[in-house]
Every structure is written in structure tokens, then in C-alpha cells.
């Protein structure tokens, strides 16, 4: 008779965002295990171990939450920023409301004719390459560096035109000082050179669900393999 080692059932509370701009709601979930051969049908076990019939190692039915999201915001988290932002749906949020998902962020402006369409396309290409079962754990955020012109309405139109209409996309309008501060956190440089024209760095940044920077991709149309790898790693680590 095999003795099953029972480990504490990990009760985790994951903060999920039902959509990019809704307030965070709390939800608790338990990790369940299942025999890969389904010897006993859909029977689930509360803990790791092996199947009593075929003795194969039980596999989790859902993604294991390996790290419990701390309720504290770490020293290096962008969630320390208290600036207010408007989404494309005209909802006011703070960055910390994005907590809980891996964040892929870029700074753009909608009247940009040269670099931003490429940057936006880069974001879309990255999004397309994230495996379907992980898509719910990642949020793609475009932050406007032109808060005067890029109103929520403008951002909404931009999202539609650029095929960024799904729940995984958030477009943000900040205040001028909020945008400057955020750019400084990303080390993105920009300067307005005429009323509708900015020069700016082209950087796509990846943050873990606690708001800590884990990766930056610099340049336009660069090979995004590394970025995608980092995003998937980050999703799986949480």
C-alpha cells in the first residue's frame, strides 16, 4: 500500500482582473490534481501524488500558482506610482490596479506616423505569439506620451483601428507629469518637437505581476523571441 504524502493544500488568493479596466476582484482557488490517464474519469485529488490505479504522477488540472502574490508592493514595483490614468473606456485607474497579471508596456502617441505603428505592430505580434492558455495572465498596455491630444476617445479609436480591441489591451492617458514620471521609470526618453510630433525611445517593457521590471526590448521591429520567452517565463513563475 502506497502512502500518499499529503502536503498542505495551497490556498491562494489570486487577484484577477475581470477586464483590463475593472476594479480588481478577489477570488480564491485551490489547486487540484488529476491522473493523466484519467483512470478514474474526471476524479480530482487535493494534493500531489500518484494515481492509485496506474501509479502515474498526478498532474495539476490548472496552472499551479507557485508564488503567492504578496499584498505588499515591493521597493522596485511600478505600483508605487500613485499617478492617475484614464483608460480608453474613460475609467480612472492607478497602475496598481493592473497588479496580478504580467504586464507588457509601451509608450506611443496616436498621431505618430512612423515609429508608433511599428511599435504597435510589435506589441500585436508579441500578443499573437503568447499561447492561448496563458493569454488571460498577461495584459498589454499602451501609454500615451501625448496626454493633451490622446483623450480616452482618441485612444479608443486608435485601439479599434489597430486591432487592439480585446480585453487584454489597455490604453492609458495620464497627466503630463504622470507620463513624464512613468517614462522615467522605464528610462524612455521623449521630447515634443512640434505640436503633433514627438521623438522618443522605442522600448517594450515586461513587468511581473508585482510590477517589477523583468525585461526590456529596445528598437523597432526587432526579433521579439527573447521578449516572448520572458513573458511566458514570468507568467509561469506566478
Amino acid at each position: 500500500m502506497k502512502i500518499f504524502k499529503y502536503i498542505l493544500v495551497l490556498m491562494v488568493t489570486i487577484t484577477t482582473l475581470s477586464s483590463c479596466n475593472k476594479a480588481a476582484s478577489k477570488e480564491s482557488s485551490t489547486v487540484a490534481y488529476q491522473c493523466p490517464m484519467k483512470c478514474e474519469g474526471d476524479k480530482v485529488y487535493a494534493a500531489e501524488g500518484s494515481c492509485p490505479v496506474c501509479e502515474m504522477k498526478l498532474r495539476p488540472t490548472s496552472k499551479i500558482v507557485k508564488k503567492v502574490l504578496s499584498t505588499m508592493i515591493s521597493d522596485e514595483s511600478i505600483f508605487n506610482l500613485t499617478s492617475k490614468w484614464n483608460t480608453q473606456d474613460d475609467k480612472e485607474i492607478e497602475l496598481k490596479e493592473l497588479k496580478g497579471k504580467t504586464l507588457v508596456m509601451v509608450m506611443i502617441y496616436t498621431t505618430c506616423k512612423a515609429a508608433c505603428p511599428r511599435l504597435t505592430a510589435d506589441m500585436r505580434n508579441i500578443e499573437e505569439k503568447i499561447p492561448t492558455d496563458l493569454k488571460n495572465d498577461v495584459e498589454f498596455v499602451l501609454v500615451s506620451i501625448d496626454p493633451i491630444n490622446d483623450t480616452p476617445k482618441k485612444l479608443k479609436e486608435f485601439a479599434k483601428e489597430n486591432f487592439l480591441a480585446g480585453n487584454q489591451w489597455t490604453l492609458l492617458q495620464g497627466t503630463e507629469s504622470g507620463v513624464r514620471e512613468f517614462a522615467n521609470v522605464l528610462a524612455v526618453k521623449y521630447k515634443q518637437i512640434s505640436p503633433l510630433d514627438f521623438s522618443h525611445s522605442n522600448i517594450i517593457s515586461v513587468f511581473n505581476p508585482e510590477g517589477e521590471l523583468v525585461h526590456q526590448q529596445e528598437g523597432l521591429g526587432v526579433d521579439n523571441k527573447e521578449t516572448i520567452k520572458k513573458i511566458i517565463e514570468t507568467i509561469k513563475a506566478y
Partner: protein, 232 residues
């Protein structure tokens, strides 16, 4: 604070390399001092060196201070505060109901010498600044130890470099394809070829140093002062 009459000027790097309009505003006469910064961190402990978070300042933040509220042995209360990050400087100004100057505002006031508002063509003006850049440890001097300029503002040159709100503006205009890679080039001076006035090497140095900074960096010779909009 003293009031600065706005106007137009052609910056070293500007919008369309053309004239930039500056509105009237108020500027601190001196850079913020050590003493003033002590008062600030006493009131806002989150900016004390033991409490500041990593997102907002690097390890050398206020390094020379003996403790959270006590200066180092060789530091004077009336010397300019240095080794503060952009985040700290920004918040300091905001807590006083002020803000950091923009690069354009700062450069506009700083192009004055003792007698005229735009002294950039004057040989002595440039020689003084370049002479200062070669001088070590001027941050140990006290505020007001340089000269009072046309606008009654002291110490824009000769004491410490100063943070500006938009120090992170890129230097190159137009849609740059790889502008993030150019810091090195800029620092070596190659970009000065694009400058509107080649005589203005000192100003170029300032743009170069700004271009090399990150907002959480702190430097021994980098302080700040605040400005305020002139509301009528």
C-alpha cells in the same frame, strides 16, 4: 523666488530647431540647500535615506549624510543639496507648491550673465562655465557664492548641475530609428554638429549629461531648484 519675464529663444536643441516660447514664471533664487532638504525629509520621512524605495533612488542617495536627518561632517547647511534623484527633487518641489523647471526654462534663465539676458555669444560667459566644469568639488561651496545674473538668480553656473523636469527628452529630433543607442555618441560630442550654435559647447555638455541620466540616479554634483507658474 524672482519673476522671470518670458520670451522666445533658440535653444541648443529645440522644437523644430526653432524659437521656443517661454511663458513668464517664478524661479528660486538659489538651489535647494542641505538645510532645506533636512526639513523636507523630516516632514516627509519616506524620502529619508533609510526609507526611500529603490524605484525612486539608487544606493548613493544622500550617501554623505551621517543619518536620516543629520548631514555628514564636511557638509554645510547652506551648501546645495546633491545626491538626490529626479523623483526626490520632483516631489520636493511639489511639496512646496512648485515644480522642477523644464530644460527650456532652465536654459533660458541660465543664458543670462550679470548684465544681459542672452550672453551666450560672450566669450567670458562661456569661459566661466567651461572653467567651472573643470573645477572639482564646487558642490562644497555655499549657495550664492557664484554670481547674481540678469534675472537676480544665483548659482546657475559654478556650483552644481541641476535636475530639470524633462531631462529625459531625447536630443535628436524627428522620428529616430535607434535613438536609444546614441547616449554614448552624444556624450562624446558627435551630436554637437547638430547644435544651433556651435559656440555653445557648455550648453551641449549639459544636454549630454542630462541625456546620460536616469531618474533614480544621484550624483555628488547634481542638485536642483524649483520654479512656479506665474499666475495672474
Amino acid at each position: 523666488m524672482v519673476s522671470i519675464k518670458g520670451g522666445e529663444y533658440i535653444p541648443l536643441y529645440g522644437r523644430d530647431s526653432m524659437k521656443v516660447k517661454i511663458n513668464d514664471f517664478l524661479m528660486d533664487v538659489y538651489p535647494v540647500t542641505n538645510k532645506e532638504y533636512i526639513d523636507f525629509v523630516k516632514k516627509y520621512p519616506k524620502w529619508q535615506k533609510s526609507k526611500v524605495i529603490k524605484l525612486f533612488a539608487d544606493e548613493s542617495y544622500l550617501r554623505a549624510w551621517k543619518s536620516d536627518t543629520i548631514l555628514g561632517e564636511n557638509q554645510k547647511e547652506q551648501s546645495p543639496i546633491t545626491q538626490v534623484s529626479w523623483f526626490a527633487a520632483k516631489e520636493y518641489c511639489e511639496c512646496q507648491g512648485k515644480r522642477l523647471p523644464t530644460v527650456d526654462e532652465w536654459e533660458y534663465v541660465a543664458m543670462a550673465n550679470k548684465t544681459i539676458p542672452d550672453a551666450r555669444k560672450e566669450k567670458e560667459y562661456n569661459a566661466f562655465i567651461l572653467g567651472w566644469y573643470e573645477k572639482p568639488k564646487t558642490f562644497n561651496q555655499t549657495i550664492g557664492s557664484t554670481f547674481k545674473n540678469y534675472w537676480n538668480v544665483y548659482d546657475l553656473h559654478g556650483l552644481v548641475w541641476e535636475w530639470t523636469s524633462d531631462f529625459n527628452s531625447v536630443l535628436i529630433s524627428g522620428e529616430s530609428r535607434k535613438d536609444v543607442d546614441t547616449d554614448n555618441n552624444l556624450f562624446c560630442g558627435s551630436a554637437a554638429i547638430n547644435a544651433t550654435d556651435l559656440m555653445n559647447y557648455a550648453a551641449f555638455m549639459r544636454y549630454a549629461i542630462r541625456g546620460s541620466l536616469k531618474a533614480k540616479y544621484t550624483m555628488k554634483n547634481l542638485g536642483f531648484r524649483c520654479v512656479k507658474d506665474n499666475k495672474k
